[in-house]
Symmetry: C2
């Protein structure tokens, strides 16, 4: 297929590379900042543009990967006079209905992953969640999605927003826990590297055990003595102290609920 | 060496298996509950006991792996009349000084990992943090630690408690984030498995990028629109809503501090 990318951020970069590797032709890359558009377009052998009016009608599919907050106005500008084209956004938290009134053939392709420009992610095993305005468009999007990933699921906007929320916990908040650990270690001259085996095992574990079953540590044992000492160590950072308290409380409460379920 | 294990929980099980595989002889396994002692002792070809008075003097090293809150009283009971033996505890959060007055030769061997009985962990690449009452005992503990792990570090009690706190964030709180995700998905009939590629990539990423650099998502972009919607989705669970709010705030604040550092 011929594809034009609207956006040049982490997700646009990764999906662009995956699509090109799958044999699709990237026609144009749009970014508000020309430098960013040029940088990605050159990687994808596409043409860079930084004006909506320069986005031509040569592509079959237009993929919008932008900050959620600007998506609405960009859709209105980009979809104009291209009623025979397919428009997709890639946002977990944005309903498909955002296209209504602006496009005729539209849908969503949400690849659930954490993307950084510095790391090219293997799309093959990455779950992609798709949705479309009708079955004909859904088949087109499915074909496109299956060309880059082996795990393609159809999911409604209503369910996808919970999936996106779950991803924020499993990725963004997890990474922030790593970050807090890293800062605590740095303050005591311990290199972050020593945590990597623990981080890896914690991730591997939930391939075999449920997170509820995998839980260890003072909160699930409800070792108040240790938890009190930990909170004191965090005295200089009331926000982290607060996070410690709420996470421990939630671990403990969830364990009680799970135990009751088992009984 | 000849080793007796005091405790039969997740850590005792894993360190016992590692020590046996490294060629050490496990003499006895003590647990308050005889059934637990028998279960682990049979795995390690050791003798099971459930009374302190039954712990004999045949071992060179006695390793205490118990809930932090009971460690003090067990130390007093176990170390009595064995002044030529070495006593170790394996707790991250407990200072070595707990042995003072009860034992003559003592130290700490803290293997930083999340242990479950169902999963035998590879000790070879697992960081072990050691400490001892004097240099002679330190050398003995180092020899023992190096027989099961290639990554042995000497660390004081004062620094180890921060390491333990960091491990709670990087493991227990991370796992709880997985658990919250899992519950959110289950409520919308999405299997937890779809999160595994995201969980794995989030862990792999910090092998190459710092957590600060690896961060993505609405909080670091400060996308208030998405964050408000997410908080509404969590309305049924005020505790998780609160965690969402504090984690997002902390991600945002840390990003500002990091940006200022760069400038």
């Amino acid at each position: 297929m011929k594809i034009t990318l609207i956006g040049s951020g982490n997700l646009a970069t990764n999906i662009g590379v995956a699509l090109k590797n799958a044999g699709h032709q990237i026609v144009q890359v749009y970014s508000r900042r020309l430098l960013n558009a040029v940088s990605l377009a050159s990687r994808l052998e596409a043409k860079a543009v930084n004006q909506f009016s320069e986005i031509n009608g040569d592509a079959d599919v237009y993929i919008l990967s932008l900050k959620d907050s600007v998506l609405q106005e960009v859709i209105a500008a980009v979809c104009k006079n291209k009623s025979d084209k397919i428009f997709l956004h890639t946002a977990g938290s944005v309903p498909m209905a955002l296209f209504k009134g602006s496009a005729v053939r539209y849908g969503v392709l949400y690849p659930m992953q954490t993307f950084s420009k510095e790391r090219v992610v293997d799309f093959r095993s990455l779950p992609c969640f798709i949705e479309a305005c009708d079955n004909t468009v859904l088949e087109k999007i499915k074909t496109l999605a299956l060309s880059i990933s082996t795990k393609v699921y159809t999911l409604s906007s209503a369910d996808r927003k919970y999936l996106h929320l779950a991803a924020v916990f499993a990725c963004n908040f997890v990474n922030h826990c790593y970050e807090i650990s890293s800062e605590l270690l740095a303050a005591h001259s311990v290199p972050f590297d020593v945590l990597l085996p623990l981080i890896d095992e914690t991730a591997h574990k939930v391939h075999e055990l449920s997170p509820a079953h995998a839980q260890t540590g003072p909160a699930v044992r409800y070792d108040e003595n240790v938890m009190e000492k930990h909170k004191m160590l965090l005295a200089a950072s009331p926000l982290w102290q607060n996070i410690y308290e709420l996470m421990s409380k939630s671990i403990h409460q969830t364990a009680i609920i799970n135990n009751n379920k088992r009984i």
